[in-house]
């Protein structure tokens, strides 16, 4: 008999923008178990990206209520780097360009920070190179991109590939993919999606945040949630995405949110 391991448990999460006090998340409940891929869909302004930012520890938000447990630990009390070292990975909607910092140089620092946290020795140059080659192949990253500065001058597709490549190297327990399909043409989407699919595993959980159903043609989630006005208003299987594709988000907003969206 399989024992279910809960990776992420969000209860009654409320958050607002620190600067102007605008409430964005109005009570989110969500449970994600190991091995599961959940998609969070919703219209613009529903709070999808805010949820990703709050989970990864980005500044600029205030959590006013609720709890987030990651592997049973209080995630919200950890600084961003500690979340990353504990195995949380955020793939950015808009990956940041960092001139003057070579991709692999930075990634080796990141990997060593994670390894140190886990009580492992630093990775040596040869092993790192082998790891980089193996993981770069997953998303068909060219060698030239590896040695270039982080995301500097990368196309939209190259930036997203770089995110998934970094994710593969850092081997997270919880991956949060924020609008990974935005700005991708169909070929790039296919490559990125196949990279993500190859990283699905029994001990990893993934949270796909997406506006469009398109990504879900390539990555099939176990559970789909619809976020609307800061709450999860619908939870279902992949057929929910097709319904949304057909009817749009409007019909959901017309209905009263029932039961504030119990997760799986």
């Amino acid at each position: 008999m399989n024992v279910t391991t809960t990776i992420l448990e969000i209860r009654g999460l409320k958050a607002r923008i620190a600067e102007d006090g605008t409430e964005i998340l109005k009570g989110v409940d969500l449970t994600v178990n190991a091995g599961e891929v959940h998609a969070i869909m919703g219209p613009n302004g529903s709070g999808k990206s805010t949820l990703a930012h709050v989970l990864s520890g980005r500044e600029g938000y205030e959590v006013t209520d609720g709890t987030v447990l990651y592997k049973g630990k209080d995630l919200l009390s950890m600084p961003p780097e500690e979340r990353a070292r504990e195995g949380v990975f955020l793939s950015f909607q808009y990956p940041v360009e960092i001139p003057g910092v070579a991709n692999t140089y930075f990634l080796r620092m990141a990997l060593n920070a994670v390894r140190k946290h886990r009580g492992l020795p630093e990775v040596d140059a040869m092993d790192f190179l082998a790891l980089v080659e193996e993981k770069a192949a997953l998303v068909e990253m060219e060698d030239a991109l590896l040695s270039r500065n982080v995301n500097e001058g990368f196309s939209g597709g190259e930036k997203k590939r770089n995110e998934i490549f970094q994710m593969a190297v850092l081997d997270p327990t919880l991956a949060i993919l924020d609008e990974t399909d935005s700005g991708l043409d169909i070929d790039a989407l296919r490559v990125v999606a196949s990279g993500v699919n190859s990283l699905r595993s029994a001990d990893r959980a993934m949270l796909l945040i997406t506006h469009y159903q398109r990504l879900l043609n390539y990555i099939t989630p176990d559970v789909i949630h619809v976020l609307s006005d800061g709450r999860i208003v619908r939870t279902g299987d992949k057929s929910l995405a097709l319904l949304l594709e057909e009817k749009g988000y409007g019909w959901l907003e017309a209905e009263a949110p029932v039961g504030a969206g119990k997760a799986s």
Binding site: E81, P95, L170
Partner: protein, 433 residues
């Protein structure tokens, strides 16, 4: 060597310097060119600093502290033993630490004090040629106290593949000390050389170096100045370069140390088609002040100049970039660009930026700009979300900011040393200040 044994042209230079210093006096805080330099502080402290030769009366042996300071230069220091180098302690040659044999014939790379005993040759023509000792108070002071320094001459057509290193150690471990080194770099037609001047040291010191550069037609000089004396040191450095037709100067002014440091660089493009690239990187923290002045004089047609100075300031440090480009009426087809970028790591650090263009010819292409900012919050978060600590993230981004300048230094050990310095500086290690 006593002053009386010096050749006449040296004695004359000293007299002229002394006379000019008396006439000019020190700059006033109201002088526009000196408004960012705390001249009042300098003036108050100057009498405490005495030339080491006056204290000991003889050539100082390199102290443990001086040797440690040289060693701190790491791969570019004596430990490497790979470079031709002249090492001066408190302004006097330390021949034990120096190495200058094995250069191509005709190349002179010598201590001035050794040349003073020879019949006047090219040095007599070059020393003081650029004339700053008549008009610039600190150059005049340097001339008045002239004892030692460096003369490099590379004859026509000779290309020096290996960099030459000049190290000036200001050793204030036995009390405040002054030195006034003079460096004369002369390249003949089509000659090429790479020269690194490193200023390091310990304790309280006043260092007032003057570097004169004369480049013949189509000569190439790559010149780096590394200024990293102790946090108690005062450094007023003046460099003036005169470029002949088609000559190229690549200057790197790298400033890390000192209580007050001023780097003044004047480049005169006096031959058709001459070009200069002036890079600068300055780091200051705590109560340090670092002040960079450039003047590029486009006096002839078809000359180009690119300036790029970057400053990184933390704590209550103050920095300045005061850069001027003059295009004379004869400077048609000038291509001059000036860029200054500064990074403030604290709320109390301050930068004064004053880029200036003075153009007296219509057929020119000139740009200038200055921008000051902080570390990018999005980039910091990105790195932290990938497990780097906040300190690591700040280091990575700050080093990246510096790397644009560091990466253009052709001398590999100097690049490596500077990278270490920036990292050490960020980590707050006292020896890296």
């Amino acid at each position: 060597m006593s002053a009386t044994a010096s050749p006449l042209f040296v004695q004359n230079l000293r007299h002229e310097g002394l006379e000019a210093l008396g006439r000019l006096g020190l700059p006033r805080p109201s002088d526009e060119e000196w408004r960012y330099t705390s001249v009042a502080t300098l003036e108050k402290r100057l009498p405490e600093f005495v030339p080491a030769v006056a204290r000991s009366g003889a050539r100082p042996a390199a102290s443990e502290e001086a040797r440690a300071a040289v060693a701190s230069l790491g791969p570019i220091g004596v430990a490497g033993r790979r470079l031709h180098q002249l090492v001066f302690v408190n302004g006097r040659l330390d021949s034990g630490l120096s190495r200058f044999d094995g250069l191509p014939s005709g190349v002179r790379f010598e201590a001035l004090s050794r040349l003073f005993g020879e019949p006047p040759g090219l040095l007599a023509k070059r020393l003081g040629l650029l004339g700053g000792h008549r008009s610039h108070p600190f150059v005049a002071m340097n001339a008045a106290h002239l004892l030692d320094g460096v003369f490099l001459h590379v004859p026509d057509g000779v290309v020096l593949a290996e960099p030459l290193l000049v190290v000036h150690v200001a050793d204030g471990s036995a009390g405040p000390v002054a030195s006034h080194p003079r460096v004369v770099l002369s390249l003949g037609e089509n000659a090429q050389a790479t020269v690194v001047e490193a200023y390091c040291g310990t304790g309280e010191a006043f260092v007032n170096p003057v570097t004169e550069i004369v480049l013949g037609a189509h000569a190439h000089l790559d010149h780096s100045t590394l200024q990293e004396e102790s946090p108690e040191a005062f450094h007023v450095g003046t460099t003036e370069a005169h470029l002949g037709p088609g000559a190229q100067l690549f200057s790197h002014v790298l400033s890390v140390g000192g209580r007050i440091a001023r780097n003044e660089l004047t480049v005169r493009l006096h031959g058709d088609g001459a070009g200069a690239t002036l890079d600068g990187l300055f780091l200051a923290r705590g109560e340090q002040q670092v002040d960079n002045h450039t003047l590029v004089d486009h006096a002839r047609p078809h000359c180009g100049s690119q300036q790029y100075y970057k400053g990184i300031l933390d704590g209550s440090a103050r920095g300045a970039f005061d850069g001027k480009v003059i295009v004379r009426p004869a400077g048609a087809f000038t291509d001059a660009h000036q860029k200054n970028r500064n990074l403030l790591l604290s709320d109390t650090a301050r930068i004064d930026a004053k880029p200036q263009l003075e153009i007296y010819n219509n057929d020119v292409k000139c740009t200038h700009g200055s921008a000051t900012g902080r570390l990018d919050a999005d980039a910091l978060f990105y790195l932290r979300s990938r497990a780097l600590s906040e300190g690591q993230a700040r280091s990575v981004l700050t080093l990246a900011f510096a790397s644009e300048i560091v990466d253009r230094i052709p001398v590999e050990p100097l690049r490596a040393h500077l990278t270490e310095r920036v990292l050490g500086w960020l980590a707050g290690s006292p020896e890296a200040s």
